[in-house]
């Protein structure tokens, strides 16, 4: 029996990430620093607000941060730039010479890499959370948060591919990673729960796909077993995959590669 190319790319991504432990350690080390900083911040903020902010106590907020930051740190921060470079330089042509979907194969490999980082980040986060504030607020929330974390990584990757596809049309599209990152910070709920944003901004954030990448798993992890959020995530994932595939299909038709 032969494995499908996409499964092979996924497992190869896992193997490649495990084969570079130093790189993994640096990223997880950075995650640990973020946890320490945010735990101090939220402790001070909740204490200053009588122990609760918009329904979140310190314990809920710490588990929120662990899930939100863990999901975002699992994906490459500048993937858009990397893909944009490959499109701009014409290196994407090598991928096009293989009998597989360019986006599908690359995303499978990225997903493999991200899964390793996600498992490491969430494991470290779990230890940090257990030691700092005890178990997550709800077992049901935790159970919902685990598949949501995988979906969050998938949504993040596909959204980055959709953004990066702009490089087929616009010369400097790769620099959109900077804008994308800020959108994840704010509208994705990575820095703070959407409930803490002004009502109109939170309303906008809920209409856009960014909240699927951090807010959804973090909201679930913080004890809010809102299972319908998984359906929202899945729906967005389908839309984003379709968008990335369509953008690449259109982009490949107008690819410009000159020289050798």
């Amino acid at each position: 029996m032969t494995r499908t190319p996409y499964w092979a790319a996924f497992t190869d991504g896992i193997r490649r990430t495990m084969a570079a432990p130093a790189e993994l350690a640096v990223r997880i080390g950075f995650f640990a620093v973020i946890l320490v900083v945010f735990s101090s911040l939220w402790r001070a903020a909740t204490q200053a607000n009588g122990g609760m902010i918009q329904g979140y106590g310190y314990r809920e907020l710490l588990w929120y941060v662990i899930a939100a930051e863990g999901c975002v740190i699992a994906t490459k921060p500048r993937l858009i730039e990397e893909i944009g470079d490959d499109i701009g330089s014409g290196d994407i042509a090598i991928d096009m010479l293989r009998p597989v979907s360019v986006v599908g194969f690359r995303m499978a490999a990225e997903m493999g890499e991200a899964v390793v980082r996600l498992v490491c980040a969430l494991s470290l986060g779990a230890v940090f959370g257990l030691v700092s504030v005890g178990a997550p607020p709800s077992l049901e929330g935790l159970l919902a948060a685990l598949p949501a974390a995988l979906l969050a990584v998938g949504c993040n990757l596909t959204m980055q591919y959709s953004f990066a596809a702009a490089a087929f049309w616009v010369e400097d599209a790769k620099s959109t990673w900077f804008l994308y990152q800020k959108l994840i910070f704010l509208l994705g709920g990575m820095l703070l729960p959407l409930e803490l944003l002004p009502g109109w901004l939170a309303g906008i954030a809920r209409l856009l796909p960014f909240w699927t990448t951090a807010y959804v798993p973090a909201r679930l992890m913080s004890g809010h077993a809102e299972w319908h959020l998984l359906i929202v995530q899945l729906g967005w994932l389908i839309v984003l995959v379709a968008a990335a595939l369509a953008a690449f299909r259109a982009g490949e038709r107008r690819l410009v590669v000159t020289g050798g």
């Binding site: 032969t2 494995r3 499908t4 014409g90 290196d91 010479l97 597989v100 050798g260």
Partner: protein, 314 residues
């Protein structure tokens, strides 16, 4: 049967200069066909349209006008089907994963081409022996020298037994020994597996050793298409004579002959064969001078190709 059929293929690129968009025609209506098992050199100066042609034939670029088939497939609309049957090797772009060993890359490619495990293992071993590269397969790709990497690239391009092999400047950057070895491998693949070879290169020796037929493209148009041996014959307007005299000639003056260089009794002469036959020059030399040894040579292929490039465009 033709492996490649090209009819009036045109490619224009939009370029921006001083805020104005303009169109540049990289390929201007080329037509040719390549038979199954042929070894073709597709050559031309920088910017002639070679790489653009190869990218259209492999389905990476869509032409602006015209038609082409490779193994019966239209490359740009049936790319995913076509690439199962062709191999590609770009001298300036690697298809190997730098973080993996070559063998790990081959296995990933085996999955991509959905090869059976047993077939894949057998192919990797066979190609390792054929291309004398087995010892390189377990070294991380990033640690291989350019010459070693190119042997692994060639293995990767052959894993799925392609019927047509597109090579875009495959020997660029290789040293002389590695270049020669690489050329021998291409010829071996063609002879043993009847793989059609479509080669672009700036290196005249690649053409001499690998190709039987040559197409010259310049300014997007085909300006020459013939056998390598016919090209030599039809374009030769000069012959080189290497002569050793028994005693130094006082003054060497022969009509339509120039002295290229001389040292001691040895002379290198150029005969303009469009003005006078080589035979009459040889007769005059043998009659009027005391010749110890003489040999007649063709000028290097490089000169012939330069002559084609520099010929006025029709």
């Amino acid at each position: 049967m033709a492996a490649i059929e090209v009819t009036n293929l045109v490619k224009r690129f939009a370029t921006k200069g001083r805020g104005r968009r303009s169109l540049v025609e990289a390929v201007s209506g080329i037509t040719f066909s390549v038979e199954d098992g042929e070894r073709l050199a597709y050559i031309g100066p920088n910017g002639a349209g070679k790489s653009t042609s190869i990218k259209m034939l492999t389905g990476i670029l869509r032409p602006t006008e015209g038609h082409a088939t490779v193994l019966g497939y239209i490359p740009w609309s049936e790319r995913r089907k076509l690439v199962r049957h062709i191999g590609t090797l770009f001298g300036q772009r690697s298809q190997l994963w730098a973080q993996l060993t070559a063998r790990q890359t081959f296995w990933l490619l085996a999955r991509i081409y959905r090869l059976d495990d047993r077939d894949a293992a057998r192919r990797i071993e066979e190609l390792g022996e054929l291309l004398e590269a087995t010892t390189l397969f377990d070294v991380p790709v990033k640690s291989l020298s350019l010459g070693q990497r190119m042997r692994c690239e060639l293995t990767a391009s052959q894993l799925h037994s392609p019927r047509v092999l597109f090579l875009d400047e495959p020997t660029i950057g290789l040293d002389l020994v590695a270049k020669q070895r690489f050329r021998e491998m291409i010829v071996r693949l063609n002879e043993e597996r009847n793989t059609t070879v479509f080669l672009t290169s700036h290196d005249v020796s690649d053409i001499e050793y690998v190709a039987r037929r040559v197409i010259v493209i310049n300014h997007g148009r085909i300006i020459y298409d013939d056998d390598v041996s016919s090209m030599r014959r039809s374009l030769l307007r000069t012959k080189l004579l290497e002569v050793r005299f028994e005693e130094a000639p006082r003054a060497l003056s022969i009509d339509s002959v120039e002295v290229l260089k001389h040292s001691g009794l040895g002379y290198k002469l150029v005969v303009h064969t469009n003005q006078r036959s080589i035979r009459s020059v040889l007769d005059e030399l043998l009659d009027d001078y005391s010749v110890a040894d003489i040999s007649v040579l063709d000028p290097p292929l490089e000169e012939i190709i330069t002559e084609i490039y520099e010929a006025p465009q029709r």
